[in-house]
């Protein structure tokens, strides 16, 4: 079907929130390579926005355009009434935390943090106190005199944060800052970053490919796919009401079901139920946790429940839950998420609510 030119942007629920950064129709081409097509986005003041996407989706390029290291092929950036893309990076009130931290190896932690202040006004007397404050906020005061090569990755990341924040930018850009950390440290830093953002109160634009990370941290997620925005919404919305098949699959697990609607009946393999959707072929997203074991012998078909038999073929143990692959009598395989239980009998009765089968748009292959 047609390609989307407008993202499925959900309304900001509070109309009073002001927009800080306005991304208008930004496009970027490298030679023959179209990396970004017509991106339009508003970043609100004080919000934590994540730009989420796979590698090659263009998310880093978008961030670099906002920071000023790349110039867009077309489109505009506006911030605070100023035409941002006309300014070189050192004149923008935007600071970046780089993916590999980019700490200056020849300067101490303290000097690194003070760098941005020193290049602006070298004689300022309160540079020291601001640096101290910034270091205290990221809990790196004891390492102030160390060189970057002597501290760990997690510590370097905090220094990079302090260095960017000490300049009191209007907006902080973070380019996959947690990707080099190991899993536990990463989870810890996610929460710390989130509370830091609340504390400081400025907008954070966070780039990552990790959808779980995006969901944990963001006020809103902008899902980028092959240079176009697939959906921009809060984590909850993007999860429970994915706009496209890609979104449904990228964020969390899902079952994609193809069906036909004819005269108010939706047929999907051997399953069918009543629907008010228009006639035609349809694509549905059904989350694995929406499928439950049938309790007791409730065999009566209610209009809003679909029941079926299926055999458990495979189990993946995830601690608190399990992800099962079940095979229906007609050969259709579905993923089901249940609380961990012991052995399950082969063939069981399953059910789901019809409202949990969300229609989604196709995500056509893009060139």
């Amino acid at each position: 079907m047609g390609t989307t030119t407008r993202p499925a942007e959900s309304e900001l629920t509070t109309p009073a929130i002001t927009s800080l950064l306005s991304v208008r129709n930004i496009a970027k081409t490298f030679g023959k390579n179209v990396v970004l097509r017509d991106i339009s986005l508003e970043v609100a003041e004080g919000e934590f926005l994540t730009i989420l996407g796979e590698s090659g989706s263009g998310k880093t390029t978008l961030l670099r355009i906002i920071a000023g290291f790349e110039s867009a092929t077309s489109g505009e950036l506006w911030m605070g009434g100023e035409h941002l893309d006309r300014l070189p990076p050192y004149k923008r009130r935007v600071n970046t935390v780089f993916q590999h931290y980019a700490l200056f190896p020849h300067l101490t932690v303290e000097e690194n943090v003070a760098y941005g202040l020193r290049v602006a006004r070298p004689a300022e007397a309160d540079i020291d106190s601001r640096v101290e404050q910034a270091l205290a906020r990221v809990k790196m005061t004891t390492h102030a005199k160390a060189k970057p090569s002597r501290i760990s990755g997690g510590q370097q990341q905090r220094v990079a944060l302090a260095r960017a924040l000490v300049k009191r930018p209007k907006m902080l850009l973070l380019d996959e800052p947690l990707s080099a950390l190991d899993a536990n440290l990463r989870r810890q830093m996610q929460l710390e970053l989130k509370s830091l953002q609340r504390e400081v109160g400025i907008s954070f634009v966070f780039v990552t490919h990790d959808q779980e990370e995006a969901m944990v941290m963001s006020d809103r997620i902008a899902l980028l796919r092959m240079g176009e925005l697939e959906q921009v919404a809060t984590p909850r919305e993007i999860y429970s009401r994915p706009a496209t098949a890609y979104t449904a699959q990228f964020i969390g697990h899902t079952n994609l079901l193809r069906g036909e609607v004819r005269s108010g009946i939706l047929r999907c393999n051997s399953l069918s139920w009543k629907t008010s959707l228009p006639d035609g072929s349809i694509l549905l997203s059904l989350r694995p946790e929406s499928i439950r074991l049938q309790r007791g012998a409730l065999k009566s078909f209610s209009d809003d429940t679909v029941a079926f038999r299926a055999k458990v073929k495979q189990k993946a143990f995830h601690g608190a839950t399990e992800l099962l692959q079940v095979e229906c009598t007609d050969g259709l395989t579905l993923s089901v998420r249940t609380a961990s239980q012991g052995e399950l009998r082969d063939e069981l009765e399953w059910e789901f609510q019809t409202r949990d089968a969300m229609p989604v748009r196709e995500s056509p292959e893009r060139l």
Partner: protein, 282 residues
Amino acid sequence: MFSRAYRSSVTVPPLTWVVVFLVVPYFLMFCYSFWSVSQSQIIVHSWNLDNYRELLRVPVYWQTLLRSMWIAARVTLFSLVLGYPLAYFLSFYAGTRKDLYYQLVIIPLWVSYLVRAYAWKTILGSEGVLNTLLQYLHLTKHPLEFLLYSPFAVVLTLTHIYTPFTFLPIYAALEHIPRNLVEASQDLGASPQQTFWRVIFPLSIPGVLAGATFAFVLSLGDFLAPALLGGPSGIMISNIVVSLFGAAYNWPLGAAISLCMLVLVVSLLFVSERLEKKWSFS
């Protein structure tokens, strides 16, 4: 992990060669410096400090040494002035043509040193290309004498030889600077000039030191360029040594001077290495 036999077979041959052809000769040089030469041109093995006293007493020796150091200093300075911006240009602004330009800088290195010195001789002479060109363009009426057979010619030629040598380590050091540091600096508000002096230059210092040391030491000990182009006013310390081993036949004195040069060079290397360690931050 490696067997005794393996280890001895890789260490013994080079070690032996180095001892026979490096250590022993240096030791011999050390010995010679304490001997003297008799009237009938025989080397007498009487151990004394005469040679060293002579070096200190007779002005021409330490004057020439100082002049040599001054020439070497100028060569080093000019090579750096030429080489650094070139390296910076290649590293940061050359883009896709970087490799090509790099090859172009390297090519003169491979052309014989003698050939290049000779070429300058033909250019700078009173009948040479430059002088005749200037007269042809009516910019001068008489040939400029200072161009050849002067310290100027030596400095010019040696600068020509050693500029690629200073370029190389500086270029390598600049290439090693992660570009995200440059971006970080600009992100934090530093202009390109500030970024250069606060980030790029400090991180390139080891390369500068390596190139400068190389240029200085080798210029100091050069005898070819002064012999071809230096004239009487451009004589350097190595030319004196050469004549002491030739017509002036005083091996012990020559050995003494060589030994001094050796000590000087090794000390310089030591200092340079210390400085480089201090300025490297990986």
